[in-house]
């Protein structure tokens, strides 16, 4: 499978967007574990050549959006989305794809309708939501194929993405409230958890993403 992937990806350019929001080495390393080289870039021109985009990140929405605009990566991401190539947002990258974030009251990319909201600190619950948690999948999606029931994924965040349409929510997780943690819409998928830090099940998601044609058919 890994060999097939690397052959498939020879003509492809997998771009990992670097907008100074956290450390991208674990994403690069996970791709390497799948036999694939990712190109880490801050350059919109490189993003324009991508056949597949990974949009990770940790940190604050306000600073992230400011950096994306400064580097011209906001436009590059919009164009990638419009070109229909597969895009994977991770953590902060799953939040700023929406229209707005409660964090720093930030206007975001607006690739899909909805808002990023703060997890509320209810009785006995710690914020950030940090650690391993289960995902309840609401519907099938190509990039979440082959994952066992009861698998857990690594989360570390204080905000969560809330798309406007429930059909965009592929999976939810529970931390005081049930919140969306997996999103799928057209050629865009996004996870609030970190596949690159979620052991072999996380790796499976990345492998599925590399094989995905960007269609939202089940």
């Amino acid at each position: 499978m890994v060999q097939d992937l690397s052959r498939h990806c020879k003509e492809s350019v997998i771009v990992i967007i670097d907008y100074q929001a956290g450390n991208l080495t674990s994403v690069v390393r996970s791709l390497k574990a799948l036999g694939v080289e990712g190109t880490v870039t801050q350059d919109p021109a490189v993003v324009a050549q991508a056949t597949r985009v990974i949009f990770p990140g940790v940190g604050a929405a306000g600073k992230a959006m400011a950096t994306l605009r400064e580097l011209g990566l906001d436009q590059a991401l919009r164009q990638s989305f419009q070109r229909g190539i597969p895009i994977l947002g991770i953590c902060l990258g799953a939040q700023v794809i929406l229209e707005h974030s409660e964090e720093n009251d930030t206007v975001c990319l607006g690739l899909l309708p909805g808002r990023t909201r703060a997890l509320s600190r209810s009785e006995g619950l710690k914020i950030p939501h940090m650690g391993w948690n289960r995902v309840r999948f609401l519907r099938a999606h190509q990039i979440f194929k082959g994952l066992p029931e009861g698998a857990e994924y690594y989360f570390v965040h204080s905000y969560y993405p809330a798309p406007a349409e429930t059909t965009m929510v592929v999976g939810v997780t529970d931390h005081g409230i049930e919140f969306p943690c997996a999103i799928g819409w057209r050629n865009l998928v996004a996870t609030q958890f970190h596949p690159e830090k979620s052991g072999r099940f996380g790796l499976q998601i990345l492998e599925n993403f590399l094989a995905w044609d960007g269609s939202d058919a089940e």
Partner: protein
């Protein structure tokens, strides 16, 4: 529901894993990279590395360990010990760690916490606390005092106050180590753990004293810890991570059971 994390801790001296009792008499127990791989495969939820190297070129040795560990495992890990400034943090994070743990340096210079949180995000900054039980007095009303330099230097700073202050400065997590319990395998300091965990809004990892799965059960329930650090009980093969998790799951503690 969020699982309680089981976190093996590897003390690294000159590139090797060691284990001491109450911070003394460290014995060599193996290659940290190989051990990281084993624990990853055995179901560890996260790993912690403490650099207790004394030599002058410590940074290069540790960065090399971090880089090699990062290539072997797909779970988060943190690195502590000798993190003194933003450059030290950056080196460790770029080498592949998810978090850095600051301890002595943060007490001597609390701005290190806020600077780290601003530069890398709160989720990266773990406050390591080495705590000793004392008779309550005006400077340490909680009855727990902060101690630095590997347990040698009492600071006259109250542990409860410091935990709350570190949260205010931007720490994203606390790794709470009881020096009285460390290496004894007689159980965690439940009173201390509960006091700190209830006083802060961020996750608390209990450390020091784990000897049996029952000790983990106690600290995750009575102690209100979000995660438990273990060392001796798995380093010497007395228990497996799976065995510990099965024990906890039977007692209705949420733990990650498949990996």
């Amino acid at each position: 529901m969020l699982s309680k994390r089981i976190i093996p801790c590897l003390d690294v001296r000159d590139g090797r894993t060691t284990k001491g009792i109450k911070f003394r008499n460290n014995v060599d127990i193996g290659d940290p990279v190989a051990m990281a791989r084993l624990y990853y495969e055995a179901g560890a939820d996260e790993l912690v590395f403490y650099d207790i190297t004394a030599s002058s070129d410590r940074r290069n040795i540790m960065i090399d360990v971090v880089r090699r560990v990062a290539a072997e495992i797909l779970i988060p890990f943190s690195v502590g010990g000798g993190i003194r400034n933003l450059n030290d943090m950056r080196d460790v994070l770029l080498a592949g760690a998810e978090k850095v743990s600051v301890n002595s340096a943060a007490i001597l210079d609390p701005a290190l916490i806020s600077a780290g949180a601003q530069a890398f995000g709160s989720q990266c900054i773990v406050l390591g606390m080495d705590v000793k039980r004392v008779t309550p007095c005006p400077t340490t009303p909680s009855g727990y005092e902060m101690v630095i330099h590997g347990g040698r230097t009492p600071m006259g700073i109250d542990a409860l106050w410091w935990a709350q202050e570190a949260v205010r400065l931007g720490a994203g997590e606390i790794c709470l180590n009881s020096i009285d319990a460390d290496g004894t395998q007689a159980g965690y300091e439940l009173n201390l753990t509960r006091m700190i965990s209830e006083a802060v809004p961020i996750p608390v990892i209990a450390s020091g004293g784990a000897g049996t799965p029952e000790h983990l059960h106690q600290v995750l329930t009575q102690g209100r810890a979000d995660a438990a650090l273990i060392a001796s009980m798995v380093h010497y093969g007395t228990y497996t991570i799976k065995g510990i998790k099965d024990y906890l799951a039977q007692r209705h503690i949420p733990v990650r059971l498949i990996w």
